[in-house]
Subunit: 331 residues, 2 copies
Amino acid sequence: LPDETNAVTDCHSEPPKTIAIIGSGLIGQAWATVFLRAGMQVVLYDTAAGLAEQAKAQVIERMSEFAQFGLVTQETLGRSLTHIKLAETLEAAVATADYVQENGPEILDVKVALTREIDRFAAPGVVIGSSTSGITASRYSAAIKGRDRCLVVHPINPPHLVPLVEIVPAPWTAQTAVEDVNDLLTQVGQVPILLNREIDGFVVNRLQGALLREAFSLLDKGVASRRDIDKAISDGLGLRWSLMGPFETIHLNAPGGVSDYVRRFGPMYRDMFSDDPGAVDWETVVEGGLEADLTGERPVSEIAVGQKARDTALLHLLVQRAGKAIASSDQ
Amino acid sequence: LPDETNAVTDCHSEPPKTIAIIGSGLIGQAWATVFLRAGMQVVLYDTAAGLAEQAKAQVIERMSEFAQFGLVTQETLGRSLTHIKLAETLEAAVATADYVQENGPEILDVKVALTREIDRFAAPGVVIGSSTSGITASRYSAAIKGRDRCLVVHPINPPHLVPLVEIVPAPWTAQTAVEDVNDLLTQVGQVPILLNREIDGFVVNRLQGALLREAFSLLDKGVASRRDIDKAISDGLGLRWSLMGPFETIHLNAPGGVSDYVRRFGPMYRDMFSDDPGAVDWETVVEGGLEADLTGERPVSEIAVGQKARDTALLHLLVQRAGKAIASSDQ
């Protein structure tokens, strides 16, 4: 979360940045919350003025929740009432923006037209990010004059509560645009990741899709009930995955780290998915750099230290769960 | 976690159950902790006496951690010192047990021989669970006299901190054995799930394998760095998955619930994995019972309520993360 002591509203630093949020549905509202939370100015625009007005009320409610949970100060909450503005026109929304986050419908023609309008009114050098989950910047920005400042900035639902954001540039997106968005997202407490090339589903939905694909298959085969498959994640794998990713997880799950893990369990996983024509050889990936990468961050000699840290973090999660169980049984 | 007020050590109820833990490595130690935590008696056995002695010290250390975190009382911690015993022989370990958890090596011949010995010494009706992740009960128990009391009871690493356990019976496992283990695990605060049939990797490792398979593929294709793929889970999907499983997640991610989600996003996921020869049609699964199951638990009219509950839980996670960030920056 943003460190408020470094907020850009400090009187000795530059004035707060202004972010244009185009489209005021759930995703637009969440983005507005993210930027307000960090002390920035937000201009909200939607095609019908009534929508943006309703959205503003929702955003203020979310800011109040953050304040209740101690995640923003009362000062930031108070400021947010004046820091969020509604624009009557797209031009007015975009004209003063330092960054534009577009949350239009997932329809190619609509997104092209909308991006063209934003590009027309935004000041030079202002980056235009899209929340799209399904249309790459290559497709919607190809014919845009300022296409070098267009890129996908894809959040996870709900964006104000899940910090990860995927940055997916087109081949023609300027490196400075990528860097600007990366810096901005980091500054507001999100966790940006960078895709080196465009791919359908990006990283997040491909990982989610891979899990869902197997979950649907297990259900279809009658291996377990829907509820039990859900529990396998929510009371099992998901606890570890809220602390570390899949590679970090397996690096800690064998005494010799990732290469040891793949040597021990690789054949089991290969047999599970033996009908996969596009299967990647895990040992090749391990030897091709994965092991060097993971051991560079955590040498095999420090695996036990990592396990200990993981276990302590899991203990904290258990305490939180036990507390919630007590709280809900109190009601 | 177990409710200590209902612990079986209450003087008006039956004496605490005795659990034999065969094999005292990390998994055996974690199982011992699980049963001691719930006030039960544990008898630990390993092939070399020194190993079990070391394991006992580790188990006590884990119990102390649970006490430090307020997850067991000082009474339970104190009792655990006398509730854990070491056995000199397999026979002595098993003879007085109400349940046996076997944690032997993942080698078929060894597991067959070990299970045969346990079956020989365990009292009639005592269930024999195996922690194996790779060998089905059909394979290791086929030639065992008491094979109807043998089944896989597979935990997630580390079992004392991750509650999920997979119960995987062989076709010949008695229904009473399945029920006994299910009751016992629930009593000690674990979360058991039941597999209706044996499948390589069971449910948990198939789900983990599906995610890993895509993660390795993305890394191999150079789509993103290892660190960014890990973040996509640990700062993204994993936060939601620590609260709810993949089906519950998508049921909340479209206004009309799971069928609406699959209508909107099914084609995107299908295109991602279009080379999968064994692909299941998600719409068929939805119409074949998944929608009825999920809406039975949460009707479409209550999706907004579910989203609100999810968001509140995510706020709690953010608070915990912010606290940890502050704590670690203090050091």
